[in-house]
């Protein structure tokens, strides 16, 4: 498998309070990779390190086959980037911003830019500094797509946008990916949004990558089990027991959150004298919350 982004032993610290890594991130080429994590978990820092906007304390980064930061400018000819905060020149009009961006990008597609301008309903003469948050989000996505990149790196691209704009932006993204097969690396804390479009996810928490798996195995592997008459000692279960809580009402019933669940594991409960009453699928958001909860349990507790 080839990787559009590959970091090895990446480490970085900002001040005395925040440390990131060591991080081994691998974004498969052609995937739509959702980069999840709560605010302050290190998503934006990881992106900035990956794109050469921050210099790591140690470790290496390769993006679309280019070493970062040594070949950063060659890399940016093939990477479209939508940062967390707007970074365009506010005195330019929309049309001027397009012309400026196109002057630097070798694969700039002026026709696609015009079409997206119409699709997004952006006025050419409006100054960038006068655009609303939603319009700025659309313009940033337009610029990133019209440069025809092999990899799109999107840092919270829909954060703070209303549902209509969010849908427009994501539709444009999906259209581009289905047309070109480009890789997308999209960070967000809006879990449900990524659930619909991503085929890989990576989860960050407190500067560490706590999971990196295909979406289907993440969603299928985490379950909530309703268990009756479970003993205090669970022995050595064939799955990872993430959480164990008292059930709602029925006496002796507990809710277990487990990872790595397979239907053949039912017989484990017979072995410990418990009754498995129900297996409940968790959506990505619930799985994400449970994963973070587990990741934060101190070692040995």
């Amino acid at each position: 498998m080839s990787y559009a982004i590959e970091t090895h032993d990446l480490q970085y610290h900002a001040g005395k309070t925040f440390e990131l890594g060591p991080l081994g991130l691998r974004v498969p080429t052609g995937s739509i990779y959702g980069f999840l994590g709560p605010n302050g978990s290190g998503k934006t820092t990881t992106i900035r390190l990956s794109l050469g906007l921050l210099r790591p304390d140690r470790g290496s980064v390769r993006v679309v086959g280019h070493d970062v930061p040594r070949q950063t400018h060659q890399m940016f000819a093939r990477v479209g980037y939508v940062p967390e905060r707007p970074h365009l020149y506010p005195t330019l009009s929309v049309a001027e911003a397009l012309a400026f961006h196109g002057a630097f990008h070798p694969r700039w597609d002026a026709t696609a830019a015009r079409e997206l301008l119409d699709t997004f309903g952006l006025a050419r003469d409006t100054r960038v500094g006068h655009l609303s948050k939603g319009e700025t989000g659309k313009l940033l996505m337009l610029l990133a797509i019209a440069q025809r990149p092999d990899l799109l790196v999107l840092d919270e691209p829909t954060d703070g946008l209303d549902p209509v704009v969010r849908r427009d932006v994501l539709m444009a993204l999906i259209d581009y990916v289905s047309e070109t097969g480009a890789t997308v690396f999209i960070s967000s804390h809006l879990v449900h949004e990524l659930e619909r479009i991503c085929d890989w996810i990576g989860v960050m928490d407190r500067g560490r990558l706590v999971a990196e798996v295909p979406m289907h195995s993440f969603k299928n592997g985490i379950k909530r089990l309703r268990v009756r008459n479970a003993p205090a000692q669970t022995g050595d279960p064939p799955f990872v027991l993430l959480a164990r809580e008292r059930g709602d009402g029925a006496s002796g019933t507990e809710l277990w959150v487990v990872r790595g669940w397979q239907p053949t594991m039912r017989q484990y409960f017979e072995g410990i004298g418990a009754v498995l009453q129900d297996v409940i699928d968790l959506d990505l958001e619930e799985g994400f919350v449970e994963l973070l909860r587990t990741a934060r349990v101190p070692q040995g507790s």
């Binding site: 050469g52 400018h73 060659q74 000819a77 905060r85 365009l88 020149y89 012309a99």
Partner: protein, 220 residues
């Protein structure tokens, strides 16, 4: 690429450049008018007084050049500073190339103001009869103004391109020099530290020598 950068820089600095060009056009006219050349009665001239008036008005040229350099260098980087340089750093060109493009665009914007100085000098000199024994130095003043603006622009561009820490270091050094000079002065030590620094900067072969000395549109 260069055209795109020039357009962005022009958009950010157009008003200031137009204002400075207008001022640059007026300064030569002011110089000849202040000296009394427009009166036409040369018999009563006190040449020393008149040339002194030309020199006084000429002092505005280096001031304009410094303001122009400062305006262009701040204009070159302000938009990038506001966005933490993220946009510039994500363009697919080497960083030195981007810096050169930005610098070059500023140089282009010096030209209209320099042209205004040249026009102003031509109009001012054309409007008077230069007395015998004196000469007009319109072309020299124009070229010198261009060079002075370039020096001012280059110095402030380098400072503006740096981080806040760089700027703080430079200002810190200047303040430390002033403080040391004041301390030595209060102790009765005649080291003339500030004079030494000023001479190194503004006297030949100092980097800012072009800004110092008289700017005589009309001279001997």
């Amino acid at each position: 690429m260069f055209g795109a950068i020039c357009r962005v820089q022009w958009k950010g600095s157009a008003a200031a450049v137009a204002l400075l060009a207008a001022a640059a056009f007026i300064v030569p006219l002011l110089a000849v008018q202040q000296a009394g050349f427009t009166a036409g009665d040369f018999r009563t001239w006190d040449l020393v007084v008149m040339l002194s008036a030309v020199e006084s008005a000429g002092a505005l040229f280096p001031i304009l050049a410094i303001i122009l350099g400062l305006t262009l260098s701040v204009g070159a980087w302000s938009a990038d500073h506001q966005a933490d340089h993220v946009y510039a750093l994500t363009l697919p060109i080497p960083r030195w190339h981007y810096v050169l493009l930005r610098f070059g665009a500023g140089l282009v914007l010096i030209l209209p103001v320099m042209l205004a100085v040249g026009l102003g000098c031509a109009v001012a000199v054309g409007s008077i009869d230069v007395p015998e024994g004196l000469r007009a130095y319109g072309s020299s003043i124009t070229l010198r103004f261009g060079l002075a603006a370039l020096v001012s622009y280059a110095a402030t561009f380098a400072l503006a391109a740096g981080t806040k820490r760089t700027a703080a270091t430079v200002f810190g050094i200047v303040l430390a020099l002033i403080a040391i000079a004041m301390l030595l002065d209060s102790l009765g030590v005649s080291a003339n530290l500030l004079d030494v620094v000023a001479n190194a900067m503004f006297r030949r072969p100092g980097p800012f020598e072009v800004l110092a000395g008289p700017w005589m549109l009309i001279g001997v």
